[in-house]
């Protein structure tokens, strides 16, 4: 058993050494010629506007949360849809179907709640 962990330690050591070696090597061979344009923050080739430490609209987070809910829903529905036929062959089709309807129903209540609370409105 200990030899298995030795591999892990070896990989970790090589990984750390590789990063240090590349950084040191490029530090030696690269030319150093700084200019204001090179030193400015890269913002998709746009002129940078203001500092990065600003407050974001809390609405973004709620949108992101709702997006994640439906993302996860897809992750669950996809394998379910693939396997439903084999469930049906084993006589469990109705059961699997009801399970998914319950799951979707709970999510639907959540979406309805968010909708009613005006989360989906953006002004």
């Amino acid at each position: 058993m200990p030899s298995d962990y030795a591999y892990v330690a070896l990989f970790a050591a090589i990984g750390v050494a590789f990063i240090i070696a590349t950084l040191v090597f490029s530090w030696f061979i690269r030319p150093s010629d700084p200019s204001p344009e090179k030193l400015s923050t890269y913002e998709c080739a746009e002129e940078p506007v203001g500092p990065a430490h600003v407050q974001f609209r809390v609405g973004y987070y709620v949108f992101a949360l709702i997006f994640v809910i439906f993302d996860v829903e897809t992750v669950f529905i996809y394998p379910w849809a693939v396997l439903l036929r084999s469930f049906a062959r084993n006589g469990m089709g109705m059961f699997a179907f009801v399970e998914m309807v319950v799951f979707l129903g709970i999510l639907l209540v959540g979406l309805g709640y968010a909708w009613r609370k005006g989360v989906l409105r953006w002004e």
Binding site: G91, M94, F95, V109, G112, Y113, R116
Partner: protein, 497 residues
Amino acid sequence: MSGDFGSVIGPVAPEIILCVLGLLLLVAGMFLPAHRKATIIFWTCLVGLGTALCSCVMVLAAIALSPEPLQMPNWLGATLRVDEFALVLKILINLATILTILISPEYIQHRLTAGRSEYFPLVVFAALGMTLLVSATDLITIYVAMELTSLVSYVLVGYMKRDPKSTEAGMKYFLVGAASSAIMLYGMSLTYGMTGATDLASIRRAIAELGSPEPMVLVGLILMVAGFGFKLAAAPFHMWAPEAYEGGPTPIVALISVGPKMAGIAVLLHVLEIGFPEIRDHWSALIAAIAAISMVLGNLTAIPQKNIKRMLAYSSIGQIGYILIGVASLPQSMNDWRTSGIIVYLLVYAFMNIGAFAVVTAVSNAGLSDDIEDYRGLAQSSPLLAVALLVFLASLAGLPPTAGLWGKALIFGAAIYSGFTWLAVVGVACSVVSVFYYFNVVRVMFFLKATTPHTFRNTHLLTAGIIIAITGTLFIGVYPEPFIAMARVGQDIVAAR
């Protein structure tokens, strides 16, 4: 397969009822007219929780009366274990939630500016998480149920959005809780890595096959126990408790000081007794150490506290220490009187701790602060509240004729019987210390004059909650036999699989 629906739904009926109730209340909060909303949601919640409680009793009766063991389909039976032990705890959790709901309405009317209609569904979802947790026997189910309970608790502790103390408490609770979840998950992943299984019965078999205890198995178990320790607020994992208790809404503090502890103890027992009985000597010493640290640290730090909610927070850290003595001194075979001490203590603890927080709620509803100084002369201005708090504090200290005495007697007895005499000695010493700070409050209430007189006009619901808690505390104290007998049906938590 339609016949299987009954055998699936029956044992998990309490969970299904709670889930439907929570969603129903959420929808009701959206569509009901504003002026009648509060009343309808409150009573629906109460009736729903009552139904869930009744369904727990019915499942318990069905299991206790039927000659053959409960049949559940394989996929459900491996993740949830519906036995007498779990059901007794589910009854206690539903009872604790009902008491919380009873003491809530007036407080939220005074303190909450927004989100009043989401309060009750969130409490119901917390109860759902806890009831799932006491049945869970698969690491993944344990994690999901624990997160459901925790996430709802974080939100509820930080529920008073305009109160800086409440938001700070919620934030601290969330950060510490998230870190502890990560630690627990790491322990679970190590356990899975060593055993190749997530359900506790398979983990036990894999550990038995490994023979001598593998260090990595021990590390996994220690990390998991640390994660559970955070949820139980056992020292040295207790740092979040005083802040969360002081800042959170008092009825919620009543719930989170009791419910997650029951669920956490159940998970701890399931993991240790079903998953890791092969390394009993190791975890027994570990739990004994946590118990001793919790008792000493909780009870000593409670002495100088000026705020009653902080004092009760440290006292609850000490209380969880007493309960952990019971876990540490569990015998090899569960068919033994020593197991029932834990359940009796949890039952007693539910009544006395929620009762104490109910009195704190009543006092703060009258416009007083949570400082012990503000309890001056409570005996004159509201004799009912003062006497109630006296009963609850006496019970927390373990004095006769209250129920706390029996909880402590059974737990300390079990410790001595199992060879943990030193733990029992520490426990008794800490109980003596605790009398000092509990009765400091009694002294302030009964022997000091109030500076300004206050009038107490409590709703019938709050009074009902307090009276139920007093009745429980005194009745179990005077006539403990039926409850010890009830706890005994929960003994057999490790049956042959």
